[in-house]
Protein backbone atom coordinates (compact mmCIF):
# COMPACT_ATOMS: atom_id res chain seq x y z
CA UNK A 1 0.00 0.00 0.00
CA UNK A 2 1.26 3.47 -0.81
CA UNK A 3 1.99 5.99 1.88
CA UNK A 4 -0.52 8.84 2.26
CA UNK A 5 0.71 11.81 0.28
CA UNK A 6 0.56 15.51 0.84
CA UNK A 7 0.23 15.53 4.61
CA UNK A 8 3.78 16.86 4.76
CA UNK A 9 2.71 19.93 2.84
CA UNK A 10 0.07 20.48 5.46
CA UNK A 11 -2.24 22.30 3.10
CA UNK A 12 -5.14 19.91 3.32
CA UNK A 13 -7.56 19.44 6.14
CA UNK A 14 -7.83 15.74 5.56
CA UNK A 15 -4.65 13.69 5.28
CA UNK A 16 -6.18 11.70 2.49
CA UNK A 17 -7.26 12.74 -0.97
CA UNK A 18 -10.66 11.12 -0.58
CA UNK A 19 -12.10 10.40 2.80
CA UNK A 20 -15.45 8.75 3.35
CA UNK A 21 -16.69 8.91 6.94
CA UNK A 22 -19.52 6.81 8.31
CA UNK A 23 -21.83 6.96 5.28
CA UNK A 24 -25.41 5.86 5.81
CA UNK A 25 -28.01 5.59 3.05
CA UNK A 26 -31.56 4.26 3.10
CA UNK A 27 -34.21 3.85 0.48
CA UNK A 28 -37.50 3.92 2.33
CA UNK A 29 -37.16 1.51 5.22
CA UNK A 30 -34.32 -0.37 3.57
CA UNK A 31 -30.92 0.69 4.87
CA UNK A 32 -28.47 0.05 2.04
CA UNK A 33 -25.32 1.53 3.58
CA UNK A 34 -24.80 1.11 7.32
CA UNK A 35 -21.80 3.23 8.13
CA UNK A 36 -19.03 3.01 5.54
CA UNK A 37 -15.65 4.62 6.15
CA UNK A 38 -12.46 4.40 4.12
CA UNK A 39 -9.88 6.59 2.43
CA UNK A 40 -8.21 6.76 -0.96
CA UNK A 41 -4.85 8.44 -1.42
CA UNK A 42 -3.42 10.14 -4.44
CA UNK A 43 -2.77 7.75 -7.34
CA UNK A 44 -3.96 4.81 -5.27
CA UNK A 45 -6.10 2.02 -6.70
CA UNK A 46 -8.75 0.56 -4.43
CA UNK A 47 -11.11 -2.19 -5.45
CA UNK A 48 -14.46 -2.84 -3.79
CA UNK A 49 -15.77 -6.39 -4.04
CA UNK A 50 -18.82 -8.09 -2.62
CA UNK A 51 -22.04 -9.84 -3.52
CA UNK A 52 -24.62 -8.07 -5.64
CA UNK A 53 -27.04 -5.80 -3.80
CA UNK A 54 -24.71 -4.88 -0.95
CA UNK A 55 -24.70 -1.19 -1.84
CA UNK A 56 -21.44 -0.93 -3.77
CA UNK A 57 -22.94 1.13 -6.60
CA UNK A 58 -24.95 3.21 -4.14
CA UNK A 59 -21.72 3.98 -2.33
CA UNK A 60 -20.14 5.40 -5.50
CA UNK A 61 -23.19 7.60 -6.14
CA UNK A 62 -22.99 8.80 -2.54
CA UNK A 63 -19.40 9.88 -3.12
CA UNK A 64 -20.05 12.22 -6.05
CA UNK A 65 -23.38 13.27 -4.50
CA UNK A 66 -25.49 12.12 -7.45
CA UNK A 67 -27.43 10.30 -4.73
CA UNK A 68 -26.37 12.06 -1.52
CA UNK A 69 -25.99 10.02 1.67
CA UNK A 70 -28.42 10.46 4.57
CA UNK A 71 -25.64 10.67 7.13
CA UNK A 72 -21.87 10.86 7.10
CA UNK A 73 -19.26 12.95 5.36
CA UNK A 74 -17.32 12.80 2.12
CA UNK A 75 -14.12 14.84 1.80
CA UNK A 76 -12.14 15.38 -1.37
CA UNK A 77 -8.87 17.27 -1.33
CA UNK A 78 -9.78 19.02 1.89
CA UNK A 79 -13.31 20.02 0.86
CA UNK A 80 -16.44 18.56 2.34
CA UNK A 81 -18.75 17.41 -0.46
CA UNK A 82 -21.60 16.64 1.91
CA UNK A 83 -21.68 20.26 3.02
CA UNK A 84 -24.84 21.72 1.43
CA UNK A 85 -23.13 25.00 0.54
CA UNK A 86 -20.46 23.39 -1.64
CA UNK A 87 -20.69 23.90 -5.42
CA UNK A 88 -21.23 20.34 -6.60
CA UNK A 89 -20.87 21.19 -10.27
CA UNK A 90 -17.33 22.35 -9.60
CA UNK A 91 -16.46 19.38 -7.36
CA UNK A 92 -17.84 16.79 -9.78
CA UNK A 93 -15.34 17.92 -12.42
CA UNK A 94 -12.68 16.39 -10.17
CA UNK A 95 -14.47 13.06 -9.87
CA UNK A 96 -14.57 10.94 -13.00
CA UNK A 97 -17.35 8.38 -13.22
CA UNK A 98 -17.38 5.31 -15.43
CA UNK A 99 -20.70 3.49 -15.62
CA UNK A 100 -21.67 -0.13 -15.96
CA UNK A 101 -23.86 0.62 -18.98
CA UNK A 102 -21.54 3.31 -20.40
CA UNK A 103 -24.10 6.14 -20.52
CA UNK A 104 -22.51 7.76 -23.53
CA UNK A 105 -24.39 10.66 -25.11
CA UNK A 106 -26.05 9.01 -28.09
CA UNK A 107 -26.33 12.12 -30.24
CA UNK A 108 -22.62 12.91 -30.06
CA UNK A 109 -19.65 11.25 -31.74
CA UNK A 110 -17.00 9.52 -29.65
CA UNK A 111 -14.84 12.63 -29.92
CA UNK A 112 -17.66 14.97 -28.92
CA UNK A 113 -18.55 12.71 -26.00
CA UNK A 114 -15.03 13.17 -24.67
CA UNK A 115 -14.76 16.88 -25.42
CA UNK A 116 -18.19 18.13 -24.32
CA UNK A 117 -17.23 18.32 -20.65
CA UNK A 118 -14.19 20.40 -21.53
CA UNK A 119 -16.17 22.67 -23.85
CA UNK A 120 -19.32 23.24 -21.85
CA UNK A 121 -18.18 22.77 -18.26
CA UNK A 122 -14.53 23.79 -18.24
CA UNK A 123 -15.11 26.35 -21.01
CA UNK A 124 -12.02 25.22 -22.89
CA UNK A 125 -11.86 26.65 -26.37
CA UNK A 126 -13.40 24.23 -28.86
CA UNK A 127 -10.28 23.46 -30.85
CA UNK A 128 -8.16 22.81 -27.77
CA UNK A 129 -10.91 20.68 -26.27
CA UNK A 130 -11.10 18.55 -29.41
CA UNK A 131 -7.32 18.20 -29.43
CA UNK A 132 -7.26 17.02 -25.84
CA UNK A 133 -10.22 14.71 -26.48
CA UNK A 134 -8.35 13.18 -29.41
CA UNK A 135 -5.34 12.62 -27.17
CA UNK A 136 -7.48 10.79 -24.63
CA UNK A 137 -9.11 8.69 -27.34
CA UNK A 138 -5.68 7.77 -28.61
CA UNK A 139 -4.65 6.73 -25.10
CA UNK A 140 -7.52 4.23 -25.00
CA UNK A 141 -6.79 3.06 -28.55
CA UNK A 142 -9.80 4.58 -30.27
CA UNK A 143 -8.51 7.39 -32.46
CA UNK A 144 -9.92 5.66 -35.55
CA UNK A 145 -13.40 5.62 -33.99
CA UNK A 146 -13.39 9.33 -33.10
CA UNK A 147 -16.10 10.24 -35.58
CA UNK A 148 -18.38 7.31 -34.88
CA UNK A 149 -21.53 7.50 -32.82
CA UNK A 150 -22.01 5.32 -29.73
CA UNK A 151 -24.49 3.09 -31.55
CA UNK A 152 -21.75 2.23 -34.05
CA UNK A 153 -19.27 1.11 -31.38
CA UNK A 154 -18.88 -2.25 -29.65
CA UNK A 155 -19.48 -2.49 -25.91
CA UNK A 156 -15.77 -2.51 -25.15
CA UNK A 157 -15.20 0.51 -27.35
CA UNK A 158 -18.08 2.35 -25.71
CA UNK A 159 -16.61 1.72 -22.29
CA UNK A 160 -13.20 2.95 -23.41
CA UNK A 161 -14.85 6.13 -24.69
CA UNK A 162 -16.47 6.35 -21.25
CA UNK A 163 -13.04 6.14 -19.64
CA UNK A 164 -11.61 8.72 -22.05
CA UNK A 165 -14.53 11.02 -21.23
CA UNK A 166 -13.69 10.77 -17.53
CA UNK A 167 -9.94 11.22 -18.15
CA UNK A 168 -10.38 14.32 -20.29
CA UNK A 169 -11.55 16.30 -17.25
CA UNK A 170 -8.21 15.60 -15.49
CA UNK A 171 -9.98 14.22 -12.44
CA UNK A 172 -8.33 13.67 -9.07
CA UNK A 173 -10.07 10.31 -8.83
CA UNK A 174 -12.13 8.08 -11.11
CA UNK A 175 -14.98 5.97 -9.78
CA UNK A 176 -15.70 2.81 -11.76
CA UNK A 177 -19.07 1.14 -11.30
CA UNK A 178 -18.70 -2.43 -12.55
CA UNK A 179 -17.14 -1.22 -15.79
CA UNK A 180 -16.91 -4.67 -17.38
CA UNK A 181 -20.15 -6.29 -16.20
CA UNK A 182 -21.98 -5.61 -19.46
CA UNK A 183 -19.18 -6.93 -21.67
CA UNK A 184 -18.29 -10.32 -23.09
CA UNK A 185 -14.99 -11.93 -22.01
CA UNK A 186 -13.04 -10.79 -25.06
CA UNK A 187 -14.01 -7.14 -24.69
CA UNK A 188 -13.40 -7.16 -20.94
CA UNK A 189 -9.67 -7.58 -21.62
CA UNK A 190 -9.44 -4.38 -23.66
CA UNK A 191 -11.12 -2.35 -20.95
CA UNK A 192 -9.08 -3.87 -18.12
CA UNK A 193 -5.86 -3.18 -20.05
CA UNK A 194 -6.77 0.48 -20.27
CA UNK A 195 -7.51 0.53 -16.54
CA UNK A 196 -4.24 -1.25 -15.72
CA UNK A 197 -2.37 1.45 -17.61
CA UNK A 198 -4.04 4.09 -15.49
CA UNK A 199 -3.04 2.45 -12.21
CA UNK A 200 -0.57 4.68 -10.39
CA UNK A 201 -1.32 7.69 -12.61
CA UNK A 202 -4.70 8.67 -11.21
CA UNK A 203 -6.56 7.51 -8.11
CA UNK A 204 -9.18 4.89 -8.86
CA UNK A 205 -12.00 3.40 -6.83
CA UNK A 206 -13.30 0.39 -8.66
CA UNK A 207 -16.36 -1.74 -7.98
CA UNK A 208 -15.82 -4.96 -9.87
CA UNK A 209 -16.25 -8.71 -9.91
CA UNK A 210 -12.98 -9.16 -11.84
CA UNK A 211 -10.95 -10.89 -9.13
CA UNK A 212 -7.87 -11.43 -11.27
CA UNK A 213 -7.75 -7.71 -11.96
CA UNK A 214 -8.33 -6.88 -8.29
CA UNK A 215 -5.50 -9.17 -7.27
CA UNK A 216 -2.99 -7.82 -9.78
CA UNK A 217 -3.78 -4.12 -9.84
CA UNK A 218 -5.34 -3.11 -6.52
CA UNK A 219 -3.31 -1.50 -3.75
CA UNK A 220 -6.09 -2.46 -1.42
CA UNK A 221 -9.21 -4.58 -1.64
CA UNK A 222 -12.34 -3.70 0.30
CA UNK A 223 -14.85 -6.48 0.87
CA UNK A 224 -18.40 -5.25 1.45
CA UNK A 225 -21.48 -7.12 2.51
CA UNK A 226 -24.87 -6.11 3.88
CA UNK A 227 -24.07 -2.41 3.65
CA UNK A 228 -20.89 -2.70 5.76
CA UNK A 229 -17.21 -3.18 5.14
CA UNK A 230 -16.38 -6.68 6.37
CA UNK A 231 -12.66 -6.47 5.80
CA UNK A 232 -10.06 -4.64 3.79
CA UNK A 233 -6.42 -5.25 3.08
CA UNK A 234 -3.76 -5.84 0.47
CA UNK A 235 -4.52 -8.42 -2.23
CA UNK A 236 -2.04 -10.88 -0.70
CA UNK A 237 -3.67 -10.64 2.68
CA UNK A 238 -7.23 -10.80 1.35
CA UNK A 239 -6.66 -13.74 -0.96
CA UNK A 240 -4.24 -15.79 1.14
CA UNK A 241 -4.65 -14.76 4.70
CA UNK A 242 -8.01 -13.10 5.31
CA UNK A 243 -8.93 -12.47 8.94
CA UNK A 244 -12.65 -12.92 8.64
CA UNK A 245 -14.30 -16.23 7.92
CA UNK A 246 -16.83 -14.56 5.57
CA UNK A 247 -14.06 -13.03 3.45
CA UNK A 248 -12.38 -16.42 3.08
CA UNK A 249 -15.72 -17.94 2.18
CA UNK A 250 -16.49 -15.33 -0.50
CA UNK A 251 -13.02 -15.38 -2.06
CA UNK A 252 -12.87 -19.15 -1.72
CA UNK A 253 -16.05 -19.47 -3.73
CA UNK A 254 -14.53 -17.39 -6.46
CA UNK A 255 -11.40 -19.51 -6.41
CA UNK A 256 -13.45 -22.67 -6.91
CA UNK A 257 -15.43 -20.99 -9.69
CA UNK A 258 -12.50 -19.74 -11.69
CA UNK A 259 -9.66 -21.90 -10.41
CA UNK A 260 -6.71 -20.52 -8.48
CA UNK A 261 -4.24 -18.49 -10.44
Amino acid sequence: MRQPLSDEKGEMKSLHMLEVKDIHKSYGSCEVLKGISFTVDKEETKVIIGTSGTGKSTLLKCINQIDPPDKGEVWLEGEELTNPSVDLNRIRQKIGFVFQDFNLFNHLTALQNVSIGLEKVKKVDKEKAREKAMKELRSVGLEKQARQYPAQLSGGQKQRVGIARALAMDPAIILFDEPTSALDPELIGDVLDVMKNLAGKVAMLIVTHEMGFARNVADEIIFMEGGKIIESGSPEQMFNNANKERTRQFLGKIATLYGKE
Binding site: I66, N89, I91, R92, Q93, G96, F99, H107, V121, K122
Partner: protein
Protein backbone atom coordinates in the same frame (compact mmCIF):
# COMPACT_ATOMS: atom_id res chain seq x y z
CA UNK B 1 -72.57 23.40 -65.94
CA UNK B 2 -68.99 22.22 -65.46
CA UNK B 3 -67.65 25.21 -67.38
CA UNK B 4 -69.72 27.57 -65.29
CA UNK B 5 -68.44 25.99 -62.11
CA UNK B 6 -64.81 26.19 -63.22
CA UNK B 7 -65.32 29.73 -64.41
CA UNK B 8 -66.73 30.64 -61.01
CA UNK B 9 -63.68 29.08 -59.36
CA UNK B 10 -61.22 30.89 -61.63
CA UNK B 11 -62.91 34.23 -61.03
CA UNK B 12 -62.55 33.74 -57.29
CA UNK B 13 -58.96 32.41 -57.23
CA UNK B 14 -57.35 35.63 -55.90
CA UNK B 15 -60.00 35.75 -53.18
CA UNK B 16 -59.28 32.12 -52.21
CA UNK B 17 -55.50 32.57 -52.26
CA UNK B 18 -55.82 35.48 -49.89
CA UNK B 19 -57.69 33.13 -47.58
CA UNK B 20 -54.94 30.55 -48.01
CA UNK B 21 -52.46 33.19 -46.88
CA UNK B 22 -54.48 33.80 -43.72
CA UNK B 23 -54.71 30.06 -43.08
CA UNK B 24 -50.93 29.74 -43.37
CA UNK B 25 -50.23 32.71 -41.10
CA UNK B 26 -52.77 31.49 -38.53
CA UNK B 27 -51.22 28.01 -38.58
CA UNK B 28 -47.60 29.16 -38.39
CA UNK B 29 -48.18 31.56 -35.49
CA UNK B 30 -50.21 28.98 -33.59
CA UNK B 31 -47.84 26.09 -34.21
CA UNK B 32 -44.81 28.17 -33.21
CA UNK B 33 -46.39 29.29 -29.94
CA UNK B 34 -47.84 25.88 -29.15
CA UNK B 35 -44.46 24.22 -29.76
CA UNK B 36 -42.67 26.70 -27.52
CA UNK B 37 -45.21 26.23 -24.72
CA UNK B 38 -45.36 22.50 -25.36
CA UNK B 39 -41.59 22.11 -24.84
CA UNK B 40 -41.49 24.38 -21.79
CA UNK B 41 -44.49 22.76 -20.11
CA UNK B 42 -43.23 19.25 -20.91
CA UNK B 43 -39.95 20.21 -19.21
CA UNK B 44 -41.97 21.62 -16.34
CA UNK B 45 -43.95 18.44 -16.00
CA UNK B 46 -40.81 16.30 -15.98
CA UNK B 47 -38.35 18.39 -14.01
CA UNK B 48 -40.10 21.12 -12.00
CA UNK B 49 -41.07 20.86 -8.36
CA UNK B 50 -44.70 20.31 -7.33
CA UNK B 51 -47.27 21.80 -7.67
CA UNK B 52 -46.26 22.89 -11.19
CA UNK B 53 -46.35 19.39 -12.74
CA UNK B 54 -49.78 18.85 -11.23
CA UNK B 55 -51.12 22.15 -12.58
CA UNK B 56 -49.77 21.31 -16.05
CA UNK B 57 -51.36 17.89 -15.78
CA UNK B 58 -54.77 19.44 -15.01
CA UNK B 59 -54.43 21.90 -17.91
CA UNK B 60 -53.56 19.05 -20.22
CA UNK B 61 -56.52 16.94 -19.12
CA UNK B 62 -58.96 19.83 -19.59
CA UNK B 63 -57.85 20.99 -23.01
CA UNK B 64 -57.46 17.51 -24.41
CA UNK B 65 -61.01 16.87 -23.29
CA UNK B 66 -62.68 19.79 -25.08
CA UNK B 67 -63.67 19.98 -28.76
CA UNK B 68 -61.87 22.80 -30.55
CA UNK B 69 -65.18 24.36 -31.58
CA UNK B 70 -66.23 24.66 -27.94
CA UNK B 71 -62.88 26.30 -27.08
CA UNK B 72 -63.30 28.78 -29.96
CA UNK B 73 -66.85 29.68 -28.95
CA UNK B 74 -65.89 30.07 -25.29
CA UNK B 75 -63.04 32.43 -26.13
CA UNK B 76 -64.88 34.42 -28.79
CA UNK B 77 -68.53 34.51 -27.70
CA UNK B 78 -68.21 33.53 -24.05
CA UNK B 79 -65.57 36.10 -23.15
CA UNK B 80 -67.27 38.72 -25.29
CA UNK B 81 -70.36 38.41 -23.12
CA UNK B 82 -68.15 39.16 -20.10
CA UNK B 83 -66.95 42.32 -21.81
CA UNK B 84 -63.64 40.88 -23.06
CA UNK B 85 -63.66 41.39 -26.81
CA UNK B 86 -60.94 39.57 -28.72
CA UNK B 87 -60.64 39.91 -32.48
CA UNK B 88 -61.65 36.73 -34.27
CA UNK B 89 -58.15 36.07 -35.62
CA UNK B 90 -56.52 36.37 -32.18
CA UNK B 91 -59.28 34.35 -30.58
CA UNK B 92 -58.50 31.63 -33.13
CA UNK B 93 -54.76 31.81 -32.33
CA UNK B 94 -55.47 31.56 -28.59
CA UNK B 95 -57.86 28.66 -29.10
CA UNK B 96 -55.51 26.73 -31.37
CA UNK B 97 -52.52 27.32 -29.07
CA UNK B 98 -54.42 26.24 -25.94
CA UNK B 99 -55.63 23.13 -27.72
CA UNK B 100 -52.42 22.14 -29.48
CA UNK B 101 -50.14 22.87 -26.51
CA UNK B 102 -52.05 20.29 -24.48
CA UNK B 103 -51.25 17.67 -27.12
CA UNK B 104 -47.68 18.78 -27.71
CA UNK B 105 -46.84 18.44 -24.01
CA UNK B 106 -47.55 14.73 -24.45
CA UNK B 107 -45.34 14.51 -27.54
CA UNK B 108 -42.36 16.17 -25.89
CA UNK B 109 -42.88 14.41 -22.59
CA UNK B 110 -42.67 10.99 -24.19
CA UNK B 111 -39.55 12.12 -26.07
CA UNK B 112 -37.98 13.28 -22.80
CA UNK B 113 -38.65 9.86 -21.30
CA UNK B 114 -37.02 8.25 -24.33
CA UNK B 115 -33.64 9.73 -23.39
CA UNK B 116 -32.04 7.20 -21.03
CA UNK B 117 -31.83 8.47 -17.43
CA UNK B 118 -28.19 7.38 -17.28
CA UNK B 119 -27.18 10.12 -19.71
CA UNK B 120 -28.48 12.71 -17.29
CA UNK B 121 -26.44 11.11 -14.51
CA UNK B 122 -23.39 11.04 -16.78
CA UNK B 123 -23.77 14.71 -17.71
CA UNK B 124 -24.13 15.75 -14.07
CA UNK B 125 -21.12 13.61 -13.17
CA UNK B 126 -19.09 15.70 -15.61
CA UNK B 127 -20.10 18.76 -13.60
CA UNK B 128 -22.91 20.01 -15.82
CA UNK B 129 -25.67 21.96 -14.10
CA UNK B 130 -29.26 20.80 -14.55
CA UNK B 131 -29.86 23.51 -17.16
CA UNK B 132 -26.74 22.64 -19.15
CA UNK B 133 -27.68 18.97 -19.01
CA UNK B 134 -31.12 19.76 -20.42
CA UNK B 135 -29.74 22.10 -23.06
CA UNK B 136 -26.76 20.12 -24.34
CA UNK B 137 -27.73 16.53 -23.64
CA UNK B 138 -31.50 16.11 -23.27
CA UNK B 139 -32.94 18.66 -25.72
CA UNK B 140 -30.94 17.72 -28.83
CA UNK B 141 -32.21 14.17 -28.48
CA UNK B 142 -35.75 15.14 -27.48
CA UNK B 143 -36.15 17.29 -30.60
CA UNK B 144 -35.05 14.42 -32.81
CA UNK B 145 -37.32 11.91 -31.10
CA UNK B 146 -40.32 14.19 -31.33
CA UNK B 147 -40.21 14.99 -35.07
CA UNK B 148 -42.63 12.20 -36.14
CA UNK B 149 -45.23 12.99 -33.48
CA UNK B 150 -44.76 16.71 -33.86
CA UNK B 151 -45.23 16.65 -37.65
CA UNK B 152 -48.54 14.90 -37.04
CA UNK B 153 -49.61 17.63 -34.66
CA UNK B 154 -48.46 20.33 -37.11
CA UNK B 155 -50.69 19.01 -39.88
CA UNK B 156 -53.61 18.43 -37.51
CA UNK B 157 -53.35 22.05 -36.42
CA UNK B 158 -53.31 23.21 -40.04
CA UNK B 159 -56.50 21.30 -40.74
CA UNK B 160 -58.07 22.37 -37.44
CA UNK B 161 -57.47 26.01 -38.36
CA UNK B 162 -60.37 25.65 -40.82
CA UNK B 163 -62.73 25.57 -37.83
CA UNK B 164 -61.80 29.21 -37.21
CA UNK B 165 -64.29 30.08 -39.95
CA UNK B 166 -67.00 29.38 -37.37
CA UNK B 167 -66.04 32.50 -35.40
CA UNK B 168 -65.66 34.60 -38.55
CA UNK B 169 -61.97 34.41 -39.38
CA UNK B 170 -61.90 34.88 -43.15
CA UNK B 171 -59.39 32.13 -43.82
CA UNK B 172 -59.50 29.65 -46.70
CA UNK B 173 -62.57 27.72 -45.57
CA UNK B 174 -64.59 30.86 -44.76
CA UNK B 175 -63.85 32.29 -48.19
CA UNK B 176 -65.00 29.12 -49.86
CA UNK B 177 -68.18 29.34 -47.85
CA UNK B 178 -68.71 32.96 -48.92
CA UNK B 179 -68.24 32.10 -52.61
CA UNK B 180 -70.62 29.19 -52.27
CA UNK B 181 -73.39 31.25 -50.73
CA UNK B 182 -73.19 33.74 -53.58
CA UNK B 183 -73.02 31.07 -56.24
CA UNK B 184 -74.29 27.72 -54.93
CA UNK B 185 -73.88 26.00 -58.30
CA UNK B 186 -70.10 26.00 -58.09
CA UNK B 187 -69.97 24.48 -54.60
CA UNK B 188 -68.37 21.14 -55.56
CA UNK B 189 -65.49 22.67 -57.52
CA UNK B 190 -64.73 25.26 -54.87
CA UNK B 191 -64.71 22.67 -52.11
CA UNK B 192 -62.60 20.26 -54.17
CA UNK B 193 -60.10 23.02 -54.83
CA UNK B 194 -59.96 23.94 -51.13
CA UNK B 195 -59.46 20.25 -50.26
CA UNK B 196 -56.66 20.11 -52.83
CA UNK B 197 -54.93 23.14 -51.28
CA UNK B 198 -55.09 21.63 -47.78
CA UNK B 199 -53.77 18.35 -49.11
CA UNK B 200 -50.83 20.01 -50.86
CA UNK B 201 -49.94 21.93 -47.70
CA UNK B 202 -50.08 18.84 -45.48
CA UNK B 203 -48.14 16.84 -48.04
CA UNK B 204 -45.35 19.40 -48.24
CA UNK B 205 -45.11 19.76 -44.47
CA UNK B 206 -44.75 16.01 -44.10
CA UNK B 207 -42.16 15.88 -46.85
CA UNK B 208 -40.14 18.68 -45.32
CA UNK B 209 -40.20 17.19 -41.84
CA UNK B 210 -39.37 13.76 -43.17
CA UNK B 211 -36.27 15.27 -44.67
CA UNK B 212 -35.40 16.94 -41.35
CA UNK B 213 -35.88 13.65 -39.55
CA UNK B 214 -33.46 11.90 -41.88
CA UNK B 215 -31.00 14.77 -41.90
CA UNK B 216 -30.70 14.88 -38.12
CA UNK B 217 -30.98 11.19 -37.52
CA UNK B 218 -28.41 9.87 -35.05
CA UNK B 219 -26.27 7.43 -36.95
CA UNK B 220 -27.03 3.83 -36.07
CA UNK B 221 -29.47 4.82 -33.36
CA UNK B 222 -32.41 2.46 -33.47
CA UNK B 223 -35.05 4.75 -32.01
CA UNK B 224 -35.10 6.92 -35.12
CA UNK B 225 -34.28 4.37 -37.79
CA UNK B 226 -37.25 2.14 -37.01
CA UNK B 227 -40.34 3.09 -38.89
Amino acid sequence: MILLGINNLLNNLPFLFEGLGITIVLTLISVALATLFGILLAMGRCYARQPLPFIIYIYEKIFRGLPLLVIFFLIYFGLSQQGIHIKAFYAAVIGLVLHSTAYQIQIFRSAIHAVPEGQKTAAMSLGMSKLKTIYYIIMPQVLRFSIPGWSNEFTILLKDSSIAFSIGVVELMARGDAINSMNPDGILYVLLFIAFLYFILVFSINRGLNYLEKRYRISGYAATSVR
